[in-house]
Amino acid sequence: MKYSIFSLARAALSGHKNWQRTWRDATPKDRYDVVIIGGGGHGLATAWFLASEYGIKNVAVLEKGWIGSGNAGRNTTIIRSNYGLPGNTGFYELSMKLWERMEQDLNYNAMVSQRGVINLYHSDAQRDAYARRGNTMRINGIDAELLDLAAVRKMIPFLNFDNARFPVQGGLLQRRGGTARHDAVVWGYAHAASELGVDIIQNCEVTGFVRDANGKVTGVETSRGKIGAGKVGMAVAGSSSRVAAMAGLRLPIESHVLQAFVSEAIKPLIPGVMTFGAGHFYVSQSDKGGLVFGGDIDGYNSYAQRGNMPVMEDVCEGGMALMPMIGRVRLLRQWGGIMDMSMDGSPIIDKTPVDGLYLNAGWCYGGFKATPGSGFVFAHLLARDESHEEAARFRLDRFRTGAMIDEKGQGAQPNLH
């Protein structure tokens, strides 16, 4: 069903009684060409690109709960392509370009809002690091601007410029960065993929892999029975290690908890996305009016989807240090997601040593912005059996060879990325 103001108006006349399900409630078939494990943004985007770009429509997306129940549904909705290292830079820009056409591609309003992302700097060293990164972006054809203090003051006059422990000196701005409505991304891909014939199967937990005599994966065991597959793609960030373990794989990944917070809704206060450079705090304001903010991961391995107070306090301290005008705004809700923290802070999109099993993992806390790009390149890998050129460095063996993509320079310690 085509969505538009006209279809809405027509539906209004009939009391909205004629709307169909946003995606079909599919029953698992015996076999698919491709089975995607994980009905989050990445899995659904992969399915949609398989169907729309690569003509592979006999595809199932298996979701153990409800679609979007993982990190797709509990992130801070930021999109940006301001990465500094080869491998990341081009990939995230590919993703950004797909964001820019998503709504028209999908006939679903995901509220992609390019109101800008600014990373503030507070020292010469930080400025230099941002200059390096911004120049990388520009060399790759990505928009970036280095703002000095006067320009930041003009753009965001309400920051704490004059009474700060670590005064703002400037910022790296990507105007094309911004936010998107996270749930709508999930529903939009589900809607569009379903329209192309992809089966979206909820409440279907994968419990094992079916292997042939050569060890090749030929299907999955699920809570809803065995499902055959030509190829199986994993897009289960947060649970990557657990699912990979069913195929006997150990990954360079740890699961960590990242908390996020939203305030009560208030009238428009904050433009775009801002990241504090002298503490752990980033913030944007949702269309509904809530300040959506977060900071550092809690720092310990966790699958509990909830965090503890020290980080909550640390984040609010950052917020108050940066903009003490939010002191009387109230924090409404706190939640936690499971981050697939890789050993260099960058993702893995690659074949695995197990024939027929493909991996999309290790997104750390940056998976949301990658959603369309991840779907696109993972679909490419599944369809063509070779990496898309913009994902060629996201290899699983890079840790073995030493070709890490370590933006933060923290090494093999996931909680520091």
């Binding site: 290690s241 657990r242 373990a245 150990r250 990954l251 360079p252 990944i253 740890e254 699961s255 720092g299 310990y300 391995n301 966790s302 699958y303 509990a304 503890n308 107070m309 020290p310 050993m343 840790f399 073995r400 093999a412 310690q413 996931p414 909680n415």
Partner: protein, 91 residues
């Protein structure tokens, strides 16, 4: 979270720093690149009870081996690292 330091008693989370899984053991000198790679990079990433290293840096500076459930954060046992304090270790 509160962690009962083997030496200081129960303390709040903010006094501790997390390192990670305590199961991998650093290979002896002369180990192969593959063995060291496994030690440095590969993790079981257990969903459930797992043993891990925490540092009481905001207290007595002891490294602790904490058995903690990653699904519930419940801590079931804590012991000091072999070399915490002055105990003689090995021959």
């Amino acid at each position: 979270m509160r962690i009962a330091c083997s030496f200081c008693g129960e303390r709040e989370l903010g006094e501790f720093t997390y390192l990670g899984d305590a199961k991998p053991v650093r290979p002896e000198a002369g180990a192969s690149e593959d063995e060291v790679f496994d030690y440095v990079y590969l993790r079981d990433n257990v969903a459930g009870a797992t043993s891990e290293y925490w540092y009481h840096g905001g207290g007595c500076r002891a490294w602790l081996k904490v058995t903690r459930n990653t699904l519930t954060h419940e801590i079931s046992s804590i012991e000091p690292a072999a070399g915490a304090g002055a105990a003689k270790v090995g021959a």
